[in-house]
């Protein structure tokens, strides 16, 4: 077990990230992140969609420059690319027109190494990930798992001090992912060579705990660093051991309390909009997903647990959370702690026929301020509300959200409740 007391390899200090979106709107992605990458450690990063995990990695590697704050590499402020970082991409990002070998060699050639060293190091990296015999193959001939091996070999070839991985196993099948994880751990455990540290963004709590010495939990939009959990378990780790399960539970609780607080806290909206202009941000969920959730709860006699829902329905945890959030907004479910319960209204809804469901849905929508605003705007515009007008309204009322996405959700929910219709070709909302 490593003792992580060394001086950090890389430090993130007060990182803020803003993107200016269309219409000159500024979107805040990361808020005041302070995080160290220590030598000899694996740091996992988890968090829901939109919490800026990938952005954080790109700032760490120097691909993006933070709007505020600084990245330090061995104590020195980073200008431009991080010299110690190599990255493994979620989508592999290997060049389809080059063979496996050329894909690895090309990054070494970019470093102006002599050709003999290029060949030698490429060969070693390829051997390390077990791709010998595949040197002459083109990516299109390879499975997803093998492609990601090429991605790993390419990253290892440049001998990085920090190996950065952006959801590296989310696009390969479960078995291959298991094997790749073990191999990465083996490579990392070989202390003779780099990488010294691994930073990995993950979608699954289990994966984050299997790999990481520490797990950083990001939450919300914009992303903030919620907490960092130490994982003091020896490797190899058994995901069925009691200690492991306890950590899984612990992380679940952290995420749940961050995403679905028992006390309803309205998101702070730091904008010119006054208090009464505030509307609730909509979780980007299809009505069919909410229906599915309710139907599932009905089969569980009206009560379940967030993580049971995720594991039973094979829906990613992040999506379950957003769906539950949406259902809660409509008063169809209640979420004390990690439990998910059908409310009496939710029960009536599930048992109703389609017409009654739509009536209930419509009534619940009009409980939301946002939909009342849409309805009022439509009345003002004589029953034909142009998309552009609503987008502008959304941009001022929900400065943190992407108006296009919110608009799509509004349309989807409104259509299901027969509250209004949207004519795409003319771009207008009309009352049903």
């Amino acid at each position: 077990m490593s003792l992580n007391h060394g001086v950090p390899v890389c430090e993130l200090r007060g990182i803020q990230m803003r993107f200016s979106g269309p219409r000159g709107k500024v979107q805040r992605v990361l808020e005041d992140i302070r995080l160290d990458v220590r030598p000899e450690e694996i740091l996992s990063i988890i968090g829901p969609n939109g919490s800026g995990k990938s952005t954080l990695l790109r700032i760490l590697s120097g691909l993006l420059e933070p709007s505020q704050g600084e990245v330090r590499f061995h104590g020195e402020r980073l200008e431009g690319l991080n010299p110690g970082v190599a990255m493994v991409f979620q989508s592999f990002a290997i060049y389809p027109w080059m063979t496996v070998e050329e894909n690895v060699r090309v990054v070494l050639r970019a470093r102006e190494l002599p050709e003999s060293e290029v060949r030698e190091r490429a060969h070693q990296a390829i051997r390390k990930v077990g791709l010998e015999g595949f040197e002459e193959a083109f990516p299109r001939e390879l499975s997803r798992g093998t492609k990601q091996r090429v991605g790993v070999a390419r990253a290892l070839a440049v001998d990085p001090e920090i190996l950065v991985m952006d959801e590296p196993f989310s696009q390969v099948d479960a078995l291959t992912a298991e094997a790749l994880r073990a191999e990465i751990l083996d490579i990392w455990a070989d202390k003779e060579r780099n990488p010294s540290a691994i930073v990995m963004v993950s979608q699954s709590i289990r994966e984050a705990l299997l790999m990481g010495d520490r797990v950083a939990v990001l939450s919300g939009s914009p992303g903030t660093l919620r907490t960092i959990v130490d994982v003091p378990l020896p490797r190899p780790r058994d995901s069925r051991s009691q200690e492991f399960m306890k950590l899984v539970d612990h992380l679940h609780d952290i995420i749940t309390s961050a995403e679905l607080p028992d006390v309803l806290v309205t998101a702070p909206v730091p904008s010119a909009a006054s208090q009464e202009d505030q509307v609730e941000p909509l979780p980007m969920v299809q009505s069919a997903d909410i229906l599915g959730l309710l139907e599932f709860l009905e089969t569980q006699i009206g009560a379940s647990d967030l993580f049971l829902v995720a594991s039973h329905t094979h829906v990613p945890f992040e999506k379950v959370i957003t769906t539950v959030k949406a259902a809660e907004m409509l008063d169809l479910v209640d979420t004390p702690k990690r439990a998910v319960l059908l409310t009496p209204l939710g029960k009536r809804f599930v048992n109703a026929n389609m017409d009654d469901r739509k009536d209930l849905w419509r009534a619940q929508l009009l409980e939301l301020r946002l939909f009342r605003v849409v309805r009022d705007m439509m009345d003002l515009e004589d029953g034909e509300l142009p998309k552009e007008a609503l987008l502008q309204e959304l941009a001022t009322r929900l400065p943190m959200e992407d108006p296009e996405q919110t608009f799509e959700t509004i349309v989807a929910w409104g259509r299901f409740g027969e509250l209004f219709a949207y004519r795409e070709e003319r771009g207008v909302l009309t009352p049903e």
Binding site: R58, S61, L63, L81, V85, A86, M87, F89, Q90, S91, F92, A93, Y95, P96, W97, M98, T99, V106, V107, R109, A110, R111, P114, E115, E136, A137, F138, R140, E141, V158, E424, E425
Partner: protein, 582 residues
């Protein structure tokens, strides 16, 4: 390199390498013969170009002169292609990387690739003639430049679009691993752009055959300018009414198009498939005999080994290149300075050109404008009528071919060759035939437009029909929709986006055709009908620059307006409502 690449493209490497191959020797002999032939051809061209001034060239109508003419025409097209490619790499790269240049260049490229270039050829030629003394090389250069103007725009536009749509993750790797701009261009950007560039190269070269006759044989006022080539051969044959020579020229051209298709485009397209990023994209390289053949040659393999050895003995890189690279890499140095001066130069040129055109147009009277507008209306109605007629037959036939895998395999290459054959070459001959049948020139024009543009439509409709998902077809059969209903509920909507693309290219081609067909000199007589194309040609004949500029600009204006007002909205409709992949 070449071998490995060919092998893996086909995925048959081991297969072929282990197979006993006995006929390697004669293959090498053939490769050698081809090399010698190329050298001889180059010598011939050098001889022709450097020979002393020959203001008028006598074109021999003998069959035996044809191979030589063919070669000269081919070299002209190749030279133009090389220039176009260089232009593409420089200008499109500039437009993609410099936002200021982008704002100026992209609209220009977009307009240039859509207007009927034939209307501008006479103007450019007259300009070139005043620039160059009347020597062979001057005429040659102007012909090549003309061919460049009909090749470069769509290639540049395609390269620009590829640069702009480079997948984000690939681009990030280049940043992460510290590629220089040159390395990024070589390893990332050019490979990614290759499939699009190859496709547009095919279109461009086919285009240059279409314009060949206008580039090689040209009449301004009482002066006749001719360069030895297939285009001028045909021109002379038509003028003298020599039917046999016309047939020879047509057969030669057909042979050239087929040969290019087999020897150049098919292997190149098959090879370019390896640069396809989208693995699900339709890959149908088919079986290519030339690739198989080349792979067997021991000579080529030896050359390739030599080349690899040379490549891997790393030389120190030229200092100049390295400096230039560093200059571009470091912000605030050479790069921006260079871009700014280039920008200023371009704007100055544009201003100058605009000014001279305005000065020319001042001489055109309102009544002349009215006359030209009427002529434009006449030509527009012919263009639309011809597109309508072509749609009538290509829609059912294209659907039928596209939905039958067997026939689309067989016929696609035929259609491709037919589309590449320059119909402009046979316009004059056909007009004479039509006249013999008692069809007026106005009607003949429409027929010839159909003839030259129907292939674009057919091609696109076949491609569209091939994308109709099998499940939708099965569903419509399972619910027993009648053929008529199936057409209206599935087939027509599904091919609609492709149909719109076809219409845009077809009308573009028809406008070009209007210039060649509305006025024809054949058998020592001149036939003409009322139309904007005829106005362009007559203005050139009379050497009246204001008239020429007015009619050419009017034609471009009609096309651009039509694109914006009609095809643009249709495109959007196709993208939002009838796109199958959303």
């Amino acid at each position: 390199m070449i071998h490995r690449l060919l092998d893996t493209v086909w995925g048959q490497a081991t297969n072929l390498l282990t197979a006993p191959i006995r006929h390697r020797r004669w293959i090498d002999l053939l490769v050698l013969a081809a090399l010698v032939g190329t050298l001889a051809a180059l010598w011939l061209v050098g001889h022709q170009w450097t020979s002393v001034q020959r203001p008028t060239v006598e074109i021999s109508l003998s069959v035996w002169a044809l191979p030589q003419y063919l070669l000269l025409s081919l070299i002209r097209a190749i030279a133009a292609y090389v220039i176009s490619l260089a232009f593409t790499l420089v200008v499109a790269y500039w437009a993609a990387k410099d936002p200021r240049a982008e704002r100026v260049l992209v609209p220009i490229l977009d307009i240039l690739q859509s207007v009927p270039l034939l209307a501008f050829l006479p103007g450019v030629l007259l300009l070139m003639l005043t620039l160059f003394p009347r020597s062979n090389i001057g005429l040659e250069l102007s012909a090549i430049l003309l061919l460049v103007t009909c090749q470069a725009w769509n290639m540049a536009f395609s390269f620009y679009q590829s640069l702009k749509t480079l997948p984000k993750d690939l681009e990030e790797t280049a940043g992460l691993y510290g590629f220089t701009w040159l390395q990024k261009l070589r390893w990332l950007e050019i490979p990614f752009a290759t499939p699009g560039l190859v496709w547009n190269s095919m279109v461009s070269v086919a285009n240059s055959w279409f314009f060949l006759m206008s580039a090689e044989a040209f009449k301004a006022g009482d002066k006749n300018f001719q360069l030895p080539g297939v285009g001028s051969y045909m021109y002379t044959a038509v003028e003298q009414g020599n039917a046999r020579a016309q047939v020879y020229a047509i057969l030669t051209m057909l042979a050239l198009v087929v040969l290019l298709d087999q020897l150049v485009w098919r292997p190149v397209v098959a090879w370019s498939q390896r640069f396809q990023v989208d693995e699900n994209a339709e890959v149908d390289p088919g079986d290519n005999w030339l690739l198989r053949f080349m792979r067997r040659s021991r000579l080529l393999r030896w050359l390739e080994v030599k080349r690899n050895q040379r490549l891997h003995q790393r030389r120190p890189r030229p200092v100049l290149l390295r400096r230039a690279e560093e200059g571009f890499k470091r912000p605030g140095r050479l790069g921006p300075w260079f871009a700014t001066s280039a920008m200023v130069g371009m704007l100055a040129l544009l201003a100058l050109g605009g000014l001279s055109v305005v000065r020319l147009l001042a001489d055109v009277s309102p009544s002349q404008w009215l006359h030209l507008l009427k002529a434009g209306g006449a030509s527009l109605s012919r263009v639309l009528l011809s597109t309508f007629l072509a749609t009538l037959w290509t829609l059912p036939v294209g659907l039928w071919i596209g939905m039958s895998p067997k026939w689309s395999r067989r016929l696609q290459s035929v259609v491709q060759v037919a589309a590449a054959f320059p119909s402009s070459l046979i316009f004059a001959s056909l007009i004479l035939v039509f006249q013999g049948l008692g069809i007026g020139l106005g009607a003949s024009c429409v027929l010839l437009m159909v003839l030259s543009t129907q292939w674009y439509l057919l091609f696109n409709i076949i491609a569209g029909a091939q994308t109709i998902p099998a499940d939708l077809r099965e569903a419509s059969r399972a619910y027993r929709l009648s053929l008529w209903r199936r057409c209206w509920t599935l087939y027509f909507p599904a091919v609609f986006p492709f149909l719109v693309t076809g219409w845009v290219t077809a009308t573009g081609g028809a406008w070009n055709a209007s210039i060649i067909t509305e006025i024809v000199t054949a058998k020592h007589q001149t036939l003409r009908t009322f139309g904007l194309g005829a106005e362009v040609v007559m203005a050139t004949d009379q050497g009246s620059m204001p008239h020429l500029a007015a009619s050419a600009l009017l034609m471009a204006g009609i096309v651009v307006l039509f694109n914006r007002l009609v095809w643009g909205p249709l495109y959007r409709l196709a993208e939002t409502r009838y796109a199958l992949n959303r």
